[in-house]
Amino acid sequence: MKEILAVDGIYVRFGGVTALGNVSASVGKGTITSIIGPNGAGKTTLINVISGAIIPSKGQVRFDARDITNLTSYQVARVGIARTFQNLKLFRHMTALENVMVSRHVKTSSGFVSCALKLPSSRRDEDAIRTKAMEYLAFVGLADKAHLDGLSMPFGFQRHLEIARALALEPEVILLDEPAGGLNPQETEGLAGLIGKIRDKGITVLLIEHDMSLVMNISDRIIVLNYGQKIAEGTPAEVQCNDAVIEAYLGRPAAQAG
């Protein structure tokens, strides 16, 4: 399988704490890969490293065989890696549609002057932005909520809106940071369907999730982190019976302890 995204020997230190120590992993094109691990294992840190929000102390991030380690977040978004946030970060005082329209900013180019004068090029841009944004809202099933204020929508819709916003960048890889967090089982089921649909569009999905049934159902591969180290990697079946993983989640049996 062709590798699209890879991290190689990543170290991230915050003061004296090693958030990630020598983590290497690779993601195959068109797959759904999940990162799991107990709280504080370094999952979100890894996503932040890939998306350019954190520059690692050591190691390399590769996208499509290109070194993107030192790109900052807006540059990473432009090369084709989009993300969502664990703690929703929607734009305040903007409708759902406007939230998605922001992502089309980089796909258009009219500048200050042509926008202020409303030249034909900026009108064309604006029409294209609106059409595309509506398309992605419809894709996540929020077409009829387009004109609601993003932040006053129900939580589940907000999660979907973040995904629509990321998809509107037309990325090759989408990083989903705990998209099922705070969703009820029904909503989670809907989310699983949506992630499948994203994969079917040919977009590679890298997912961080705590909801194990979701992860085991939809992942092609799973990477397990604990205390900033990668402790296991494999298919859902392989990971489920891995001793190190069971120990990380449940602790060591009392008989072996000590």
């Binding site: 946030f85 929607l90 980089v106 409303k118 960048l169």
Partner: protein, 350 residues
């Protein structure tokens, strides 16, 4: 720009056209002209503050650069007034660019600090007399072990250039217009000129706000981290809007110089910068219409506060306090809220 904004702008323009005809007192017309000049500065400030989320406490400095560029070029060098306007805009753009580059890369209110400083520097430089400048250069030269004695002579004309503390007089003022037998008195010409420019600035600002650029700026304000994660390069956008706000202040300064006919440094102190901020806050910072409403109210208000004499600054403080406590989105924000509330109540949608 949405349809409703366009209609509002048309109504607004119509009010401007008939306003002087309904008003016979030339003094009020003068106040209204000043309100227009202040509005230009405040539209720029509102773009910066309300849409990009950046504060400038130095708009009076940019206002001053515009006014002095116009005054110096026309009075001292006999240039065409348009040359003064253009020079002011270019100089302001340059200053804004230099101040903005290091500060706007950072998140947080570094721009506020830097503009506070630059506004005060501009004020001090304009207020300075030749002796102040020579003394400063001598002091600075001594620090570097360099004797700038030969500069002193060269600096002599400085006072004559800016007029020092007393400012510049005899700036060519906008005069009456004549078409055959029809004559438009100078106060009307000034009023229509200033408010015509305000309308144009409103049109361009509204266009900009409702474009990809404006949306990206609002996104930065709404959540900077998310905006960057969606591929928005925040620095050039913030820089661009800051330069635009400085440019608008410059145009306002040039208009001021040519409408009043004389300028002095007192007009461009930090108090004026703060007053611009109050105007924007009163009207509502999330909306350029708010800047307009706030400016009109805060320019007209001092006239009705005359009986407070020197205590009017206390009244401003009280107004700002009350606005921040009870309507943080300003007057226009409050009206909008009431309006949408009503709409929601009608459709039963909450």
């Amino acid at each position: 720009m949405g349809r409703s904004n366009f209609v509002t702008l048309l109504i607004f323009a119509a009010i401007i056209v008939v306003f002087p005809l309904a008003l016979k007192n030339p003094y009020y017309l003068r106040v209204a002209t000043f309100a227009g000049i202040n509005s230009l500065v405040c539209i720029g400030l509102s773009l910066l503050l309300g849409y990009a989320g950046q504060i400038s406490i130095g708009q009076a400095g940019f206002f001053a650069i515009g006014a002095y560029s116009s005054a110096i070029l026309t009075v001292q060098f006999g240039c065409n007034p348009w040359a003064g306007v253009a020079a002011g805009i270019c100089l302001n753009a340059l200053v804004a660019f230099l101040v903005g580059i290091p500060t706007l890369k950072l998140r947080g209110h570094y721009l506020a600090m830097a503009t506070l400083g630059i506004g005060e520097i501009i004020h001090v430089v304009l207020k300075a007399d030749t002796e102040d400048i020579t003394r400063f250069i001598a002091w600075f030269g001594a620090k570097l072990g360099w004797n700038p004695a030969h500069l002193t002579e060269w600096l002599q004309p400085y006072r004559a250039l800016t007029g020092g503390p007393s400012g510049l007089v005899d700036i060519p003022a906008v005069g009456a217009l004549k078409w055959g037998s029809v004559e438009l008195a100078e106060q009307y010409v000034r009023f229509y000129l200033v408010w015509g420019v305000v309308c144009l600035a409103m049109l361009l600002s509204l266009n900009l706000i409702h474009s990809r650029i404006g949306r990206a700026l609002r996104a930065i304000h709404g959540n900077e981290e998310a905006a960057r994660a969606m591929g928005v390069n925040t620095t050039p956008l913030k820089l661009g809007i800051f330069v635009i706000s400085a440019g608008l202040a410059s145009i306002a300064g040039s208009l001021y110089a040519h409408c009043v006919g004389f300028i002095s440094p007192v007009t461009f102190s930090i108090n004026e910068s703060i007053l611009f901020l109050v105007m924007v806050a009163v009207g509502g910072m999330m909306n350029v219409w708010g800047a307009l409403v706030g400016t009109i109210i805060m320019t007209a208000l001092p006239e009705s506060l005359r009986f407070f004499h020197d205590f009017d600054i206390l009244v401003y403080g009280l107004i700002l306090l009350l606005i921040m406590m009870f309507m943080p989105h300003g007057i226009v924000g409050l009206i909008q809220k009431l309006f949408t509330f009503e709409k929601k109540a009608k459709t039963g949608d909450t």
